[in-house]
Structures are given as structure tokens and as C-alpha cells.
């Protein structure tokens, strides 16, 4: 994805040798490769800035995100102390942008956590228990996988009204399927390893083996998938907001800001352009981090 083909033979060979000498673990190795990946480091830096802005940003702006100033309507950027301009109700765009960033990132983190917990438990159980249980559990995933889920999310939003909790749940419910598949595949390859055998011989029961031995060893591929799920979730929420089914005004998310900006783009293009830039910056950095992490953890799979 980054398009940079490192010379894998030499660097990996060197890394292997050092491993032998100093006992460098998988994670140290991965970290070294990650730090050398310029795109991933840049992505992480941009993301760190965005997260900090999402947390403290709203307090740095002299306006509240829902504060209506009827004298400051449709201001262009840099006029009257509105750094990024203002909207039809005279609300400060910078304040709304920080709030939108906060909401979007929070939804991304929460829904991803939901999908992480459900997907990991489901996949690890199916893979570890195997047999008929595995068959049934994965058939369920197959069936859910081929449901037109976005239609169901929309139906859910339309019928029960859109509140933020429901958005979390609905998006998380869609995203756990891929996680479950990845985790199951990994578990299958893990469960016949010697250390699992040893744990079983030591008298641990299934649940304890899954929790203490299987799941910690899955973290690599799961971490990669998480960094690619978060932007997916942010996109899904924005998509709902764009259809008017997501976050409701005066609350803002990046998607709802873009949606309303698109309506007013002829009069006030800045209302479209700045939220779009924030959206692009966060999505691109998540993708860079995810790709970098994948290359770092599994250099073969590029």
C-alpha cells in the first residue's frame, strides 16, 4: 500500500541475527520496522494532533459549538475572530469542527471496541472449540455477512430515531463479523501449538486457555484490523449523518458538518472544505498506520 518496497532479505536477515543475540521479541522487531516506515510515523503524528485537538480543542475556542451569534452570520474565515469562519446561524466553524472531530473519533473508538470484544470472543471460541460449534457459529457469521447491513442500519435509524447509543451499537454490530473471521483463522493455527498443549496438560479449562493464551497471541493481526476498522466506522457514521440519520443538530460530527457544508457550498465554500480536510486527514492517517502496522507485524503479507 505504501508502495515502498524495502529490501526485505537484508533487513529481515539482520533483524533475525540480532534476535538471536539479544533475544529481541516479535513486538520489538515490529516496533523497529514501524518506526522506519515514514508514512506510518507521519500518520501517527497527525492522528496524535487530531486526538489532542478533539479532546482540548473545544476549550481553546472562545465560542461554544452550539452558540448562535445572529450578528456573525456567514462570516468568511479570519473575520471577527472566527478563525475558520461561521455558518448560517453564526456558529463558529472551528468550535464545531473540534466538536465534530471529538464525536467522530469517539464513535470510531466505541463502535470499534464493541466489534473488538464481540468479534474476538466469538472467533476465538469458534476456532478453539471447533467441530459442530465452529460450524454453527461460522455459518451464522456467513449468513450475517451476506445481509445488506447498511440497509438494516438505515432501517434501524429510521424506525427508532437516531440517538448516539444506537449508532454505536448498529455500527459495532456490522463490524464484528470480519474480526470474528480473522480471529478464528488465527486461533485455528494457534491451538495445536505446544504451549497450548502444555496449558491443557497443566489442567487449565477452555475458557482460561482462550483468555490467557489464545487471545494474547492474536493481538498482532487484531491490532492491524482495529486500525483499519476505526476509519471504517467513522465513515459509516458520516454516511448516516449525511443521510440525515446520524448525529442530530446542534451536535456535530465530521459527516454532519460535511453534509450541511455541501448544502451551502456556493455561498460559503469554507463550510465544506475545512470539515472535508479534517475528515481526509483522519482517514488517511488511520490507513497509513494500519498499513504500516501490517507491514511491521507480518512483513510477508504485503
Amino acid at each position: 500500500m505504501t508502495g515502498v518496497t524495502l529490501a526485505p532479505g537484508s533487513s529481515r536477515g539482520a533483524a533475525l541475527m540480532e534476535t538471536a543475540v539479544k533475544g529481541r521479541g516479535l513486538w520489538d522487531d515490529a516496533r523497529r520496522r514501524l518506526v522506519r516506515n515514514r508514512a506510518a510515523v507521519t500518520g501517527a503524528a497527525v492522528l496524535a494532533v487530531l486526538v489532542v485537538l478533539a479532546i482540548v480543542g473545544p476549550w481553546l475556542v472562545p465560542y461554544r459549538y452550539d452558540e448562535i451569534n445572529k450578528d456573525d452570520v456567514w462570516l468568511a474565515p479570519l473575520v471577527h475572530g472566527h478563525l475558520l469562519g461561521s455558518d448560517a446561524l453564526g456558529r463558529d466553524l472551528l468550535a464545531r469542527l473540534f466538536m465534530g472531530l471529538r464525536v467522530s473519533l469517539a464513535i470510531g473508538a466505541t463502535a470499534t471496541s464493541v466489534s473488538l470484544v464481540v468479534g474476538v470472543i466469538w472467533g476465538a471460541t469458534a476456532g478453539y472449540v471447533g467441530g459442530a460449534v465452529d460450524e454453527v457459529m461460522m455459518r451464522i457469521v456467513d449468513v450475517l455477512y451476506s445481509l445488506p447491513f447498511i440497509f438494516f442500519v438505515i432501517l434501524l435509524m429510521v424506525t427508532f430515531g437516531s440517538n448516539i447509543i444506537l449508532i454505536f451499537v448498529a455500527i459495532g454490530a456490522v463490524e464484528w463479523l470480519t474480526m470474528a473471521r480473522i480471529v478464528r483463522g488465527q486461533t485455528l493455527s494457534l491451538k495445536n501449538k505446544e504451549f497450548i498443549e502444555a496449558a491443557r496438560a497443566a489442567g487449565l479449562d477452555g475458557a482460561a486457555i482462550i483468555a490467557r493464551h489464545i487471545i494474547p497471541n492474536l493481538l498482532g493481526p487484531v491490532a492491524v484490523y482495529v486500525t483499519l476498522t476505526i476509519p471504517g466506522v467513522i465513515l459509516a457514521e458520516s454516511f448516516l449523518s449525511f443521510l440525515g440519520l446520524g448525529v442530530q443538530p446542534p451536535m456535530a460530527s465530521l459527516g454532519s458538518l460535511i453534509a450541511s457544508g455541501a448544502q451551502d457550498m456556493e455561498l460559503a465554500p469554507w463550510l465544506l472544505i475545512f470539515p472535508s480536510l479534517a475528515m481526509i486527514a483522519s482517514l488517511v492517517s488511520f490507513n497509513f498506520i494500519g498499513d504500516g502496522l501490517r507491514d511491521a507485524i507480518d512483513p510477508k503479507d504485503r
Partner: protein, 307 residues
């Protein structure tokens, strides 16, 4: 091959059944009714209307009769558009989505494959970086960002293309929506093709073809591309289904009278039968295109059949 087909159908048919069931009960359990409007109907009239559409019977019974209707190809009448059946509504809106989707798929496949092959042949050169750049932009920038930005640029600032509208599918009206639909697909397709080509070009059969002294263009088109395109097929199945059923966002932004735009409106109005019809169309398309992709892949690659 037959066993393969049977196994796939064994998943596809129950899935369709689950889709219909879940969608049916989800809509009915939800508050609201198609006959709620600004003007409240007197209870007697409402009861009358409900009786007319069989909505006074127990939900389970309604479900069974709906199911048997669908099996006989009868999707029922629209609850909101008087004197129109669901099939009428679908027939009116679907061609718009179909035309847009097909155009976008053809353009995206052609452009994406060409870009991917070019990038693989010129690995780590300017053309390769260009493709990778396009791929990153296409994958990460959502259509509801590109669409308004393109409208702003070509529609209002330059004024060379209409901002929105369908105009019976006139060419200038198609340009922007098709571009927005195709862009992310071009990105993904070129990425897949590039990866497949790089692998294929290093394979033994390409080396053999080279050793035979075949001209380079024949090696690329006849030998390498054929293998490189395999992963693309399994991607294109669901992607086609998505595009052919209409993009909710694109149809809304460009104000096109397609299936996607209609779906949200019908769901908001609680037009149960129309929404159900659209869900079924979508599900059938996605399932059959997936099946087709699986079969194609099994036909092209014997390793898949045995797995």
C-alpha cells in the same frame, strides 16, 4: 463442481430467508405506521385502510401471506403510492441506478486494470507512484466528500457540467455521478491488479513464456494478466451488487431518481412493502453475484474447487 454449487446455495437460500424475515419484523415492531400523516385519520377510517391491506390480522399471519406472495412473484401494493404495485415502483426507479452502476463498473474495471498493470510493469517508477497515490485518495476519501467538491469545482466555479439532476440520463448529467461512483472502485481494482500482476510476473509460467521467446505484450496479456485477475473476480461480485443497487449517497447528492434515493424516503414514510421489495432486490443481487463470482473463480482456478 456440482457439489460446490450445492454447498454455496445451501448458504445463499437460508440467508435470503433471514433477510426477508429480519427486515419484515424489524419494520413492523418499530413505532409509526404508513397511515400516520399530518392530518390524523379518524380511527374508523384508519381501521378500514388497515383492513384493506390486511394489516389488522396477527403479525405472524401477515408474515406468512407476504412470504407466499413473494414466492409467487407478488410483492404487494405500495402503501403510499396509490394504484401502484411495488413492482411498478421498482420498474420506474431501477433503470436509473442500473445505468449509473453499469457505466461506473465498466469504467472502473477498465481504468483500474490498466492502471494496475501499468504500475506493476513500472514498479517503483513514476507511473507506479501515481497509481498508488490515486489508490490512497480513492480509498480514503469518501464519496460524500468528493461529490460536493466536484460539484463546487465543475458545476458552480467552472460551470461546464450540471450540478445535479438526471435529465433522462443525458451524458453531461452522468459525468460527475459516474466519476464519484467509479473513483473508489478504480482505487481498489488497481491495487488488487497491481498486487496480482507483481506476483504473476515472478511466477514460473511467465518465466517459461519468456524463455519461449514470446513478445512482452503477449506475456502480459495472455499469461500474467489471466492469473492476476483472479482475486479481482471475488472482489467484483459484491462490488457490482453495491453499485447496481444504487448508491444512497451519490443519488441523493446529485438528486437522481434511483433506487438508493428511494430507499431512505420509503423507509421514512414506512412504506413497508416498497422497502421490503428493495431489500429483497438488493439481497438477491448480492447473493447471486457472489455466487457467480465463486463459480467463475472455481472454473478458472482448480485449487478453489478442491478447498
Amino acid at each position: 463442481m456440482l457439489r460446490f454449487l450445492v454447498r454455496r446455495l445451501a448458504v445463499a437460500i437460508p440467508t435470503l430467508f433471514v433477510v426477508i424475515t429480519v427486515a419484515f419484523f424489524m419494520m413492523r415492531v418499530a413505532p409509526g405506521s404508513p397511515f400516520d400523516s399530518d392530518r390524523r385519520l379518524p380511527p374508523e377510517i384508519k381501521a378500514n385502510v388497515e383492513r384493506k391491506f390486511g394489516m389488522n390480522r396477527p403479525l405472524g399471519e401477515q408474515y406468512l401471506s407476504y412470504l407466499s406472495g413473494v414466492l409467487h412473484g407478488d410483492f404487494g401494493p405500495s402503501l403510499k403510492y396509490q394504484d401502484k404495485t411495488v413492482l411498478d415502483v421498482l420498474r420506474e426507479n431501477y433503470p436509473v441506478s442500473l445505468k449509473l452502476g453499469l457505466t461506473a463498473i465498466v469504467i472502473a474495471t477498465f481504468t483500474g486494470v490498466s492502471l494496475g498493470v501499468l504500475a506493476a510493469l513500472r514498479q517503483n517508477q513514476a507511473a507506479d507512484y501515481l497509481t498508488v497515490g490515486v489508490a490512497i485518495i480513492g480509498v480514503t476519501i469518501p464519496s460524500f466528500v468528493t461529490a460536493p467538491l466536484l460539484q463546487l469545482l465543475f458545476g458552480s466555479k467552472l460551470g461546464i457540467l450540471p450540478i445535479a439532476g438526471w435529465d433522462k440520463g443525458a451524458f453531461p448529467n452522468m459525468v460527475l455521478p459516474v466519476t464519484v461512483l467509479a473513483l473508489p472502485q478504480i482505487a481498489i481494482i488497481s491495487r488488487l491488479t497491481r498486487a496480482g500482476m507483481i506476483e504473476a510476473l515472478q511466477s514460473n509460467w511467465v518465466r517459461t513464456a519468456r524463455a519461449k521467446g514470446l513478445p512482452e505484450h503477449q506475456i502480459v496479456t495472455r499469461h500474467a494478466l489471466r492469473a492476476a485477475i483472479l482475486p479481482l473476480i471475488s472482489y467484483l461480485g459484491p462490488a457490482c451488487a453495491g453499485l447496481l443497487t444504487g448508491s444512497l449517497v451519490v443519488e441523493r447528492i446529485f438528486n437522481l431518481p434511483g433506487l438508493g434515493k428511494f430507499f431512505v424516503v420509503s423507509a421514512l414514510q414506512r412504506d413497508y412493502t416498497v422497502v421490503m421489495g428493495m431489500v429483497i432486490v438488493y439481497a438477491v443481487l448480492i447473493l447471486s453475484l457472489n455466487l457467480l463470482a465463486d463459480l467463475l473463480q472455481a472454473g478458472l482456478d482448480p485449487r478453489v474447487r478442491l478447498a
